[in-house]
């Protein structure tokens, strides 16, 4: 176990279950994206390894879809590098880009299969289209379409149907089959389950979980729903206004979040847990002394290039220290040991987070001046 101390250093393999020896399938370094003059992503560092599911969470406008689209080459990258299996994907243009796309290494699954699947085409043609575009001969194509449909557990009798005549869960499977038919290395799934009911949602989640193991696939799942990710994700990255505010092993991020925004997301999810109520009340009440930055209601997405902590205006623990943007730093304490950390009195400049080198979980980083001290103020 090694501890990274340089703030901007790329993350080590996080889970602890596997050594960090294997190179990342997807490596994003310092990625910035802007639409016109509106920055959407500011300096994102992220990695996804083969066989791993990385969950990407955040609210509408946080930039999570843009992040995935940037990897797929659908967003205007202004800075940073995106490498997939060692190749710089961000630099591809024209013919090279088309060739890379035909190779099918990176697959992006749109949020709504009803819109991303051509309503006039049958399931067989939809799933076979990437192969047909890549020029795979018909006989081999049919074989691989059958294999892909089998892999996602779709009844072969459905191959002659059009998307309108499938259920929501079946449509999502068609989209998945189409994504894996070209044997990709990286799958980016944008809200793959948000439109499905619980049972179908779990079907698709299980499928993702199985596919990444069977195909040794790196999977990035975008979601605004923590619960759907919690079952399958190995690591979770929390995006707020174009910046990653926390990332680390799924269990730690979900159960002992070190960024107040991650905690807010967790507390806001509908749950039968009575304890979350009090936490939610605390977490969604901004501190009176917080620097006033940005619009209310998260309505201003243009926070990516601001010099302050983007969350400060909503943060219950914000103070003057938050007027400076925090860097993502390795988490400073083992999960669960937060109670002893003292919280700075409001109004006084807080000390920068203390890096505790011993026993800190690797790969868990958080961009918050008051982490983990703020956790002491959570209702017990």
């Amino acid at each position: 176990m090694s501890t990274t101390t340089a703030p901007a250093a790329p993350l080590a393999r996080t889970d602890g279950s596997e050594p960090a020896a294997r190179p990342a399938t997807l490596r994003i370094e310092g990625l910035s994206v802007a639409f016109g003059r509106t920055p959407v992503l500011g300096g994102v560092d992220l990695e996804a390894h083969s066989g791993e599911i990385l969950g990407l969470i955040g609210e509408t406008g946080s930039g999570k879809t843009t992040l995935a689209r940037a990897v797929a080459g659908l967003a205007p990258v202004t800075a940073g590098r995106i490498t997939v299996d060692g190749t710089d994907h961000g630099a591809l243009r024209g013919r090279a880009l088309r060739a890379a796309r035909r190779a099918g290494t990176v697959q992006y699954m749109f949020q709504d299969p009803l819109r991303s699947l051509d309503p006039d085409l049958t399931v067989a043609r939809l799933v076979g289209e990437p192969l047909a575009v890549a020029g795979v001969p018909r006989a081999e194509r049919e074989e691989r379409v059958r294999e892909a449909l089998d892999r996602v557990g779709l009844d072969p009798a459905l191959t002659t149907r059009t998307p309108a005549r499938l259920s929501g869960g079946q449509r999502q499977r068609v989209a998945l089959a189409r994504a894996v038919v070209g044997r990709p290395r990286l799958l980016l799934a944008d809200e793959p389950v948000s439109a499905l009911d619980a049972s179908n949602r779990n079907h698709v989640l299980r499928l993702l979980d199985r596919l990444r193991r069977e195909l040794d696939l790196a999977v990035v799942v975008i979601s605004h729903d923590l619960d759907s990710l919690s079952g399958i994700a190995d690591r979770i990255a929390v995006l707020y206004r174009g910046r990653i505010v926390e990332q680390g092993p799924a269990r730690t991020v979900l159960e002992h979040p070190l960024h107040p925004y991650s905690a807010l997301l967790g507390a806001a999810a509908p749950s039968l847990d009575p304890a979350r109520r009090a936490a939610l009340e605390l977490l969604r009440t901004p501190a009176p002394g917080a620097p006033s930055i940005g619009g209310q209601d998260g309505s201003d997405p243009g926070g990516a290039d601001r010099s302050a902590c983007a969350f400060a205006h909503r943060c219950p623990f914000a103070d003057q220290a938050c007027a400076v943007r925090p860097d993502p730093l390795p988490a400073t304490t083992p999960a669960g040991a937060t109670a002893c950390a003292a919280s700075p009195p409001p109004g006084t400049p807080a000390p920068l987070p203390v890096v505790l080198p011993v026993g800190a979980p690797t790969g868990h980083t958080v961009a918050c001046h008051h982490s983990p001290g703020w956790r002491a103020r959570l209702p017990r």
């Binding site: 509408t60 949602r201 749950s271 309505s299």
Partner: protein
């Protein structure tokens, strides 16, 4: 093509097609059918009336009118077709390609098209003929050029929309070429548009061919055409009315049939698109939904800000909504999608409807709102809205008495007009996609204030004040600014609050929330749920909440109805149902729902699929997916019966023959005794869970 099949189902379309078929036959074989030589003149029989071997009489040169008419069809129709073919070629191809022209290319193409469109058909054709020499083909090419903008514009518009379609983007991500996208994805979508335009263009060009021949351009006498006959015989209208009247009639019929067909084709295309665009389970109903979401207001509407907390709570037996034996059919009455649903909602109570998609919860909810899509209907049952809440707690004692009736209202079989009254005053509703229920070109304050002014006769200032108060009551910060904002300036959560303000502006007794928080972010969802809960408590509002998310329902609702395959399978107080489900399906739902469980696990699923509507057998509809099924389960109908052990007051009901002998697992794990206090907030045994998530 689907559009064609849909078209053929419309009787008028069949009439139009038949008429066009006859015209086509005449065009092909007319000259052979002509009883006489259409050019043969008979000086002895000039301008004869019908009879004596001339069925339609003779013209001013003694030629047989019927023969000329039949022989002239071919030339008239084929000429029109030629012009349309030229127009389609010149319009469709550039139209498709223009999407990729770049800004300069597009500008040039559009301006040329604009220029072409300013030219009058007849004058241009005369000029072209003067330039190219007089002849039918010259005239038709000229006409085709002038008609091409028609095709260009519609095809370009369609292609522009398609170019932004997600499946086109998906194809680009596969590395598909432009040609591939045009061939596989775009072309087929443009075809219906092209078909509609062709029918319109044919009509236009037939008319123009006729007027051109009337002017002596294109076809030269003595060759017969419909327009030519009209031109030459019109002067003799008084002596022989048949000669000009019959070609006029044929021209009218043909053009009428073409326009009719174009209209039906366009409609069919729209219907198809609508059917594809609507997510399964919530088809259409949008247009009428707008009415429902923008209710008008009664006199005596209370201002929310001045509301004393803990408003009036009428006696429990006085239901806010009572649904009895509701049956809903889909597919024009053929298939039963909701069977025998009965429940009540008491004032101030929150009732949750849960179930998988297609379980009938949404149809039930939409029946209550009177917002069923075409082809979906309430076939039996009663839906009764309770008496309007007494106005005792009104903060404005001087307010006028409510204008509408306040007694219980039967909702089944209401007229549209009566529905509007009910939706405005007694029933409010919020839906999943708030943006689509607001007019983008009006400020939200105006959309809330106008109905208030209309119904209450408020002045502009009073309406504004009341609207701002309502916005404040639904927790919108800075309500003055919100009042003057357009929908696009507000976030999804704010829009949903605006719609909630609209829904409660009439001070309804019942608020229906149909997946109202599904599209919202978690944090915003929690806020909106809190708001709904707060409104319920402050105003004694009954809440009917439909959601596919059991955790949402459990969070807000006092009681739950679990739907499966169109039936209620379990009903009871939320805490009891969750702690000790009585129906195996409820148990399965609890297993698959997240309910805030955050530990690593394999997500549970319910094997199999629910039966398609109308295919269920007589017995339990869940039997084939149920782990506890016995042969008894599928034999005969199973009724919803009160389940023992919970007071037996009839509020806990279950549709399962084995309900008494099964010990099912609840949200807190197996064998958990009933949660004391019967509220969700005091779980007895959270041993099942890992540490608190925060």
């Amino acid at each position: 093509m689907n559009a064609l099949r849909t078209t053929l189902r419309v009787p008028l379309a069949r009439v139009a097609l038949a008429a066009l078929g006859v015209v086509l036959l005449l065009a092909l074989f007319g000259d052979r059918l002509a009883p006489m030589d259409p050019l043969a003149q008979d000086p002895s029989a000039i301008l004869h009336n019908p009879g004596g071997g001339h069925l339609l009489g003779t013209d001013y040169l003694g030629r047989d009118v019927l023969s000329r008419l039949l022989a002239g069809t071919g030339l008239s129709v084929l000429a029109a077709a030629e012009a349309v073919a030229v127009a389609a070629l010149l319009g469709v191809v550039p139209g498709l390609l223009s999407v990729r022209f770049g800004s300069t290319g597009s500008w040039l193409a559009l301006r040329s098209v604009d220029a072409l469109m300013t030219l009058p058909f007849t004058l241009f054709a005369i000029a072209a003929v003067g330039l190219l020499g007089n002849g039918l083909h010259q005239a038709m090419i000229a006409l085709g050029v002038l008609l091409s903008p028609l095709f260009f514009r519609v095809v370009r518009a369609a292609a522009l929309g398609l170019d932004r379609a997600q499946y086109v983007e998906a194809a680009e991500l596969m590395g598909a070429s432009r040609a591939w996208i045009l061939r596989v994805h775009t072309w087929r979508k443009v075809l219906p548009t092209v078909a509609v335009t062709t029918a319109h263009a044919l009509a236009t060009s037939l008319l123009t061919v006729s007027s051109l021949t009337f002017l002596g351009i294109g076809v030269q006498p003595p060759a017969p055409t419909w327009g030519g006959m009209l031109a030459s015989d019109l002067g003799f209208l008084a002596q022989q009315p048949w000669a000009p009247a019959v070609p006029t009639f044929l021209i009218m019929v043909t053009i009428g049939a073409l326009n009719l067909l174009a209209d039906v084709l366009a409609d069919a295309d729209r219907t198809d698109t609508a059917a594809l665009g609507a997510p399964a389970g919530e088809p259409a109903g949008k247009t009428s939904g707008k009415k429902g979401a923008l209710p008008t207001t009664t006199a005596g509407a209370r201002t929310a800000g001045t509301e004393p907390s803990g408003g009036p709570h009428p006696p429990a037996d006085d239901a806010a909504l009572r649904v009895e034996g509701l049956h809903v059919t889909v597919g024009g009455g053929r298939t039963e999608a909701v069977r025998d649903v009965s429940f009540t909602v008491r004032p101030g109570e929150a009732l949750g409807l849960v179930g998988e998609s297609g379980s009938g919860k949404t149809l039930t909810c939409r029946s209550v709102l009177g917002l069923l899509a075409p082809g979906v209907a309430v076939s039996a049952g009663r839906i009764t809205l309770g008496a309007a809440a007494p106005d005792a707690a009104s903060g404005s004692p001087g307010a006028a008495e409510p204008a509408g009736p306040t007694g219980p209202a039967e909702l089944t079989g209401l007229t549209d007009r009566a529905w509007q009254q009910v939706r405005g005053d007694r029933l409010g509703a919020v839906f999943q996609d708030p943006g689509s229920y607001l007019n983008p070109s009006l400020t939200v304050g105006r959309q809330l204030g106008e109905p208030l002014r209309l119904r209450l006769g408020l002045s502009r200032d009073e309406a504004r004040r009341r609207a701002v108060e309502l916005f404040e009551a639904v927790g919108l910060r800075d309500p003055q600014t919100v009042h003057d904002s357009y929908p696009h300036e507000l976030s999804g959560g704010m829009l949903q609050r605006v719609l909630i303000a609209v829904a409660v502006s009439g001070d309804p007794g019942l608020l229906v929330a149909d997946e109202a928080t599904t599209a919202l972010d978690t944090v915003v969802q929690a806020e909106v749920l809190d708001l709904l809960d707060g409104l319920r408590k402050r105003r004694g509002l009954a809440l009917l909440l439909v959601s596919h998310d059991l955790a949402v329902v459990a969070d807000v609702c006092d009681r739950i109805l679990v739907f499966y395959a169109g039936e209620i399978v379990e009903e009871g107080p939320t805490a009891e149902v969750i702690a000790r489900p009585a129906h195996p399906y409820t148990e399965a739902l609890l297993q698959v729902a997240s309910l805030g469980r955050r530990h690593r696990r394999e997500p549970a699923v319910i094997p199999g699929r629910p039966p398609e509507p109308g295919t269920a057998g007589p017995g339990c509809r869940f039997a084939d997916r149920c782990a506890y099924a016995t042969p008894d389960c599928t034999g005969s109908g199973i009724s919803l019966t009160p389940v023992g052990g919970s007071g037996g007051d009839g509020t806990r009901r279950v549709r399962c023959v084995r309900a008494e002998d099964l010990a099912l697992t609840g949200a807190w794990g197996a064998g958990t005794p009933e949660a004391p206090g019967t509220t969700v907030t005091t779980p007895t045994a959270p041993h099942h869970r890992t540490e608190a998530p925060v």
